[in-house]
Symmetry: C2
DNA sequence: GATAGATTTAAACGAATGTTTGAATTCTGG
DNA sequence: CCAGAATTCAAACATTCGTTTAAATCTATC
């Protein structure tokens, strides 16, 4: 090439291209030739640097997921330090610690952040066994840490119920990230202008907190007559 | 064959097999040969009866989606009739009308109901264009009807916010349907025994209602100091 | 500046994919 | 019972897939 100092090296160019295409078309619908063509590399380069297409997908996910999870834990650490004891952290802050870093990543439309989050959200529902195992292992530390944090933050709610609501929060988040354009497509309404992404964090956080703190099923909700 | 009266005809056997395999392995990861082998039919039968693999997927979805959406609208009709005027339907009943029929379908583990709902939930995130267009057209009537119902049921909330929360509810529901085993896999905890599916409707409905009725973002939530 | 290792390249590989063909078979109405 | 349509079937179709090969090129070290 003419100028070699400006471009990232081949593995990183491949990761960038794969991230974008996986997010845009889906993993199975993206061929290695499409990836390498976009990256300006040879087809064999993927197998040389990443072993296989599966290895490439794992590398794409790992590149940003590790730091994302580290940010989540750091924020939870800060919240627990600020509250003076892990048992006194408000649920609001636990939700914030887990989802705020992810939402911030998803709002990064120019860098690969948004593409990565869409890919991650869709990968969470992918039935491929190697992906399930990979994500389970990659997220196990964060999940255990936050499961315990949620249980401590809501001592009046049975831990099982807290886990379910954590699960539901993950779902609402993932689906919202997968595509805000889904909303326009489904309802036919142009929901917002360009600042849909700017408003998403507050909107999503309000919904998640409302669901997390909802009256327990089976118990008569106190303010039910007002709904 | 020996007894021809006991088996469903070929198109229906293919639909059943495709529904199960699409839900279990994903659409792209399921070959036509795997489908026809499970259905006890020839490979060419799919193209003969459904035109293509895309046509088969659409037929699988259409088979149950039409009646599901009809049930949703019927339940909303009943709620509006019982409340004496569409403007006086409680949000609780609108949520119930939309999600209860779907949850009931998802709880049907022996028939294809659960497989269908998992496939439908995953298809909602599938980036394939023909699927997006198909689902948008198939659901447009229900979505418009319920968008309006939600807006009327919550007159004090801006319609845009209601749409967003409808979107979030769809996400929490879809993700929960995609796999309850996700929870055990992610948290390492065996969340419940066999009755996880039996308890899911109440748990999910409580969460959805909590999110729908959450304090609006930007406004100081009244009971925030207690969280 | 020679050498050993790392990287890139064009080309080909075998397997699997969705689809089509045309003959055989089954079903149906007169 | 029989023509004619509908369906089933084995076989082959062309294409695309992920992967591999082996030679060519680049890079860094002594």
């Amino acid at each position: 090439m003419s100028d070699s100092a400006s471009l990232p090296d081949t593995p990183e160019r491949i990761l960038d291209a794969a991230e974008a295409l996986f997010a845009e078309r889906g993993v199975e619908a993206t061929s290695m030739r499409a990836i390498t063509q976009r990256a300006g590399a040879n087809v064999a380069a993927v197998n040389y640097h990443f072993g296989s297409k599966e290895g490439l997908l794992q590398a794409v996910l790992r590149r940003r997921l590790d730091s994302l999870n580290a940010r989540r834990i750091a924020q939870l650490d800060a919240a627990e330090a600020g509250a003076g004891g892990a048992a006194r952290v408000k649920p609001h802050l636990v939700v914030q610690a887990f989802f705020a870093p992810a939402i911030a990543l998803a709002a990064d439309r120019t860098g690969g952040g948004q593409a990565f989050m869409r890919l991650l959200a869709r990968s969470s529902g992918n039935p491929a066994q190697f992906l399930r195992e990979f994500l389970a292992a990659e997220n196990s530390a964060v999940m255990e840490r936050f499961s315990a944090a949620f249980a401590r933050a809501m001592p009046d709610v049975p831990p099982q119920e807290v886990l379910w609501r954590f699960h539901f929060m993950l779902g609402a988040f993932s689906y919202a990230i997968m595509g805000v354009d889904n909303l326009r497509l489904l309802t036919g309404v142009d929901v917002d202008g360009e600042d849909a992404w700017a408003r998403l964090p507050d909107r999503l956080m309000a919904f998640l907190l409302g669901g997390l703190r909802a009256p327990l099923p089976g118990l008569a909700p106190p303010g039910d007559s007002a709904s």
